[in-house]
Symmetry: D2
Subunit: 365 residues, 4 copies
């Protein structure tokens, strides 16, 4: 058997199943047989042609599977072992990784072609379904496998760890970048899967008041279960005013932006106390404006950070330890399940955010 | 003698000398007889009506002087002692100070009146020449004196410490916020007094390549003396290109913005490596735009910080220790000298940046 | 009424009630009418003469009460307001406070007299019941009240906030100093009141496996309620071996020592991974030995920190916010209640650790 | 040609030249032709049998050379390129490296045999001349070459970069761990090569007063050239008293221990202010005692850190950038030169610290 099924980008608006050769591997690679994977908002950007990838590329970057084959230089693993790999698979030998930013381990790739209007750059640390074939397939080649294969602890199901490669890692990074201290008030803007994980992350870091914002009451209800103390529906209140009331006029210590729009970014800045931190996770699609007053004209001791999802086996090990300890039920974010053969339907559901979908589980076999 | 001479804001375009009563002091205050003070770029904003202060307010926030009188609750000082106080005199008992941002120690003051077009807020930690009478006078009341009076080490002249209250404290904060590590490449945009101190601060923190940018070759020559390794005149080269060349395409680890314009901010962002830090010191006068590509659409692990000048006696003590150790000749930034009686002429020179002026020393007596 | 009842140190082995004058206050002080206070292990050291204080000093450093009178320079509070103050009342105008270590705000006080055998120094940031009259009395003078009075949020009872001044602040500091990251394994040695709060603090900071150690199964059961994932009774197992087993030989990321003995310190060092952090909270009574092998001969990238309880109104505000948010039931640590008139009996119970006592509540009125 | 000359450990007291096969390399290795190397204090411990290594092991861990051959999976380098590698060659794919401590990238190696009396453990991140053949030879196999080969910038001589692999990296790490802030007083104990680099590192990080301690006036004179403001010869003064005098009783902000003895460790602790940091670099040979009073009984907010030399190509790149920028003349630490054929004489000179030796340069060809 040398062929497999894979979801590939055909053209703007079309991601379809195709037959592709099972990847060959080099000495530092591993071949993973995918047992579960999922769709991400970024995949929808790819589907819509908003984020450019090569025609014929296999998409997807959230792999859960079993080691099928190990490169000759990869040690300490055995074939048949259950593993995950991060959405971002850094080359830990790179200058960037040694410099503290493994996700930024390559030179910038300038987007071109259909994306000229955007013109943004993607970081080369993100390889699956961006620079190389991805995880929505029967098999996946993992490069730099020695640093990226993370064994799944016994007793954890595929769906329990399915959030680790991207959603949890990104959401928690949002909380980590917010530099939360015990007793902080933290506001999390948008409660999609990443925002929900940012909410859980804020809880994990010791915030005493976590205010979750969204326009969807169902998502706000889930936010409560993930750790929010207060939820605000922006369609029915002025979020900035409410945060100021809730904090006695003091403002929030930190805000996490998990959507990628001007509106959420501006509100995230406006809820902050002087000296507050804005941790941005969203992928923006146009220039951002920082209103002068929200920024105290540059005198407010503000801090704004952005992040790309952290990867690597140590990160994955830690995230799975959080799942194992039952700190929150991250597997509950899986609302729908599809066979790989039905992935086009999964894209249809997910891209239209129908039926209360948060994350879908895709099983090839 | 109960009256003194003081430079007061009269109306847009007019700062003039006036006779005012020598301030009374309360139990936690001190009265300082000013021996040397100086003008700051912010004073020019006040002069031009771009930053609003009350009519009749004494301006200036960089005091060097002698303790004339101590409040009943202030201990550990003696009258006659030479001291400085920071441009920002925090209330160290405030929540903000205990929370790690002393300069942001009060509730925001909403600018009004002539500044409506701007509408920005000033932080209440800055009091001298903003919320209360300032230092361009014969005498100055220092509030919260216990936390703000810093004795001048023997052997240091007034001019040697005149940069400490604002210029050094702000410039060094720029370098501190840039989170410089040994071996970093740091680019400092604008080599006015604060930029020059940021350059010196980057040197102090261990950057191995400090690239100073300005449009004025005289200032660039001084930047070399303050610690720059390379200088670039933006009128004769493309600064972003040059930094990329100098770093072999890697980009700078950090950039310090010391002017407060869209152009320098954007360039500061563009010279950064993925994962780089932008430390902003400038006071902006309009909304800032973050270009999508310079920001990697929010995926670049960037960090942007702003700062208000740190104050307090410990900060001043440390800055004077740097002066005392001869790490750089900060007193050399004083290019011109005026008597307080001639302060209108000093404003004239300084506001038009004539005659290579960097900082002026004003001596009341 | 000018007299009050107060628990004073008489001589080694005797703390007794006495009549003392209600304190006078200066312009920066406040007078608090105590409504609830408690005993601390340090008070027992004082009782036993192991920690020297002046004869006649009122002991106790954990005040909950009502503002009876405010100094003339204290603003923003009203008489009758319910407040707490930290066990450590720093002078936030001090160099040490501005330098980032408010608890170390004074020059060291060299212990003398009965404590010569120990010869250790106490830090002057701790004033109540150490350098000035303390909280086990009807009234308490709070110095530097502007920075130290923390209003109690509506709806919180005295007992709910009684742990904030010392136990929670110290225990949480232990977790903060351990520099916990999401997914860490943290071992907490000793589950007395401070150790239990350190356990809760480790949970608040995102540890995924918290291993609580004690020799008392009752305390270990409470540790589970405060956030421990695993408990180990050192009388029935080899703690270091067990931690190594639980971590697959990797070792713990951090250990918190909450007792102050050589044995717990050594074990805390031995459970660490290379690069691990030891956060020490205990008050030691003799020289400490660092075994060469546990220290990897100085090559293990270890970090050892010690801490004195943080104080100040912002710290207290944050701790009360944690209580208010219901992150853990800290009031449940109060196991016994006494009237101030019966404080000698409370000392008797507490010093012998009878009847499962954790903390006692003392109510003067 | 398949044979080479190498300095090997024969038995306690004997390191001698021998003929060995030029190493074979695997896909992730590189073969370096050594052009310059040096001796380290650790090599003397090995020579004396105080630190155990296998009989026949090639010693040395400070390589400067030329790429002779690259493994098949190593990219981005060319044969003939001049490079260095760190004394510690981490596996950056390891859990430890991804966890922030690359130098601790392996499981502990328990010392055995001749070293039973010590029994300490060495960290597996240090491989050259410890776990695998080292650099005092004509050729060296560099494992994990992709992460460890650092190209030498044009214009730098072998001797200029010879300090980077160990001495500068370790000394600077001492300064980095001391968490120096602008204006700090830093005391550096012992001015051997590592202490001298720690002194230079303290200067690079912004200390305003650097106090260098040694018993050798010649070394103290060099310390001045490396950045010390004050030097103290411990044979002619009480160092702790002097530091207290120099700081007006305040104590030092940080101390760096660069020798590995009880005496220097204790003094380093005693010079600290409350809240001070002790950065330990020394390799100790017996249990350490922390005197109770020097430690404030555990209440002093102290921090003690240890370190193993950081490695990796990014670290080396940064250190060479410091050399290139002329921040200090690190090449001047080379006081003597030997051919590899005369290495036994070099050990003789270096182990007895004769003739003012600091570092020797060994050239195989």
């Amino acid at each position: 058997m040398t062929m497999m099924r894979a979801a590939v980008f055909v053209e703007r608006g079309r991601i379809e199943l195709a037959d592709k050769a099972i990847p060959d591997i080099g000495p530092n690679d591993a071949l993973i047989r995918i047992t579960t994977t999922t769709l991400c908002g970024t995949d929808i950007h790819i589907l819509k042609g908003e984020y450019p990838v090569a025609t014929g590329l296999t998409v997807g970057h959230e792999p859960v599977g079993v080691i099928e084959k190990l490169g000759s230089a990869v040690t300490g693993y055995v074939e048949g072992q259950r593993v995950i790999a991060g959405a971002i698979c850094p080359d830990f030998n790179s200058y960037a990784a040694q410099d503290g930013v493994p996700s930024q381990d390559g030179s910038y790739l300038i987007a071109s072609g259909g994306c000229a209007a955007h013109g943004y750059k993607a970081t080369a640390g993100w390889r699956f379904g961006n620079l190389i074939d991805g995880a929505q397939a029967e098999y996946l080649r993992v490069p730099d496998a020695q640093g990226n294969l993370a064994p799944i602890p016994d007793g954890l199901s595929d769906e329990q760890v399915l959030m680790c490669p991207d959603i949890m890692s990104t959401g928690f990074k949002g909380a980590e970048n917010a530099d939360i201290r015990i007793g902080d008030v933290v506001v999390v803007f948008a409660q999609g899967p990443i925002g929900l994980c940012a909410t859980a992350g804020a809880r994990l870091r010791g915030a005493s008041t976590i205010i979750a914002i969204d326009g969807n009451d169902h998502r706000l209800a889930i936010a409560k279960r993930m750790g929010a103390d207060v939820t605000l529906n922006f369609t029915t209140c002025d979020v900035v005013d409410e945060v100021m009331k809730l904090t006695g006029g003091r403002g929030a210590d930190a805000a996490i932006e998990a959507l990628g729009t001007q509106g959420t970014f501006t509100s995230a800045l406006r809820v902050l106390k002087p000296g507050g931190r804005l941790s941005s996770l969203g992928v923006y699609s146009e220039d951002l404006v920082i209103p002068l007053d929200a920024f105290a004209a540059g005198l407010g001791d503000h801090r704004i950070t952005t992040a790309l999802c952290p990867g690597g086996k140590e990160r994955m090990r830690r995230l799975m330890a959080v799942v194992e300890s039952g700190r929150a039920d991250f597997g509950a974010l899986v609302t729908h399940r599809f066979a790989l053969n039905d992935i086009v339907a999964a894209y249809e559901l997910f891209s239209h955010q129908r039926d209360g979908v948060l994350k879908v589980a895709i099983t090839p076999h």
